[in-house]
Amino acid sequence: MKAKVRRRYLALKIDSNEKFDSKEFIDTVWNTLLRLYGEYGASKAGLTLIDYDVEKGLAVIRAAHTEVEKVRTAIASITEINAKPVAMHVLTISGTLKTLRRKLRATT
């Protein structure tokens, strides 16, 4: 029987004076992951964009639970999106979207 895939949901805050669309954002995360860990490492991350709020600069992404630290490292390594300076921070991590949203509400 196929083992259940365990995932983690990460809420991210994008710190910048500029605004970026979801494609620019997720491409930057993918490219950083690819640069740091190569194609094989990036393929294991199972990265998916779940939610993106341009106005608030908030994003929710999903990753394989074993690769969360790699994703966190990649996100910390990001200093620019489309040559515009930026910083990204992991606000919270959770196993389900429901708890992630609850945690987010509690922190904001």
């Binding site: 630290e69 966190r72 910390a76 390594s77 200093t79 921070h89």
Partner: protein
């Protein structure tokens, strides 16, 4: 007990008070309970007071730090004599081997920082680590260099850091991971800083200690030493004068 975090190397432009305050506020927001900012060698106390006030406003603890950049070992000794009792943290920016060796064996030095990216201009080898481990000096790694470099330069730096971190661990030299941030976009959360150390194979407990326990211990130890009642490690003046009767 909840872990406390410290960033011992914020580098705002001290002439720009607004930017300095923003960075201190950001540090508090990111979860740091203590920050240190390198002060200039002139008007040290004035800048320290200004920063202390900004930190009080942001509800973070402030530690005064001085980055010494001597050209020779003799100049380092002179600067240490002059400044050791004035600030809580003394860091030495090691630009030459002679300075690095002298800094590593001097008990008055808290932090060794190697800013150069070129492997031949970094002097943290086994001999340096052995001296540093005897004098309790910590090896500082600035995350800013790591995140700003790209391509082959980053690969070279990661390879050097991997070797240096292994040497530090072998000789029990404490590692301090700091941001080295010159603006708030180079600042990262403590857990993100710890995650970045995985790029040079630092294990998680060591990485977490590098952003919490080690820097906090350095500051605590030096505050004790700067206390007027301090006599020697473990010995302090409890009463004097008429109190003794």
């Amino acid at each position: 007990m909840k872990r406390r975090f410290a960033d011992l190397h914020l580098q705002p432009n001290l002439d720009n008070l607004e930017q300095t305050k923003t960075m201190i506020m950001k540090a508090s927001e990111l979860g740091y309970s203590l920050v240190a900012v390198p002060l200039p060698t002139v008007s040290t106390e004035i800048f320290a007071q200004r920063l202390r006030a900004a930190c009080r406003e942001a509800r973070v603890d402030f530690a005064s730090r001085l980055d010494l950049k001597p050209k020779t070992a003799k100049e380092l000794l002179h600067q240490l004599r002059k400044f050791r009792r004035k600030v809580e943290i003394i860091a030495v920016i090691c630009d030459s081997k002679a300075v690095a060796r002298q800094a590593a064996k001097d008990h008055r030095v808290d932090i060794l920082n190697f800013p150069k990216v070129d492997p031949r201009r970094r002097f943290f080898d086994k001999a340096e680590a052995e001296l540093a481990s005897n004098s309790l000096a910590a090896f500082e790694i600035d995350v800013k260099t790591l995140i700003t470099l790209k391509g082959p330069a980053k690969i070279r730096l990661l390879s050097v850091l991997k070797r240096e971190a292994a040497i530090a661990k072998e000789f029990h030299v404490p590692i301090v991971v700091s941001s080295g941030a010159t603006n708030e976009l180079f600042m990262r959360k403590p857990l993100e800083m710890a995650a970045l150390t995985s790029l040079f194979d630092l294990d998680k407990p060591t990485a977490l200690n590098a952003v919490s326990k080690i820097p906090l211990t350095i500051v605590k130890r030096n505050r004790e030493k700067l206390n007027p009642n301090f006599i020697a490690p473990g010995i302090r003046l409890v009463r004097k004068g008429s109190d003794c009767q």
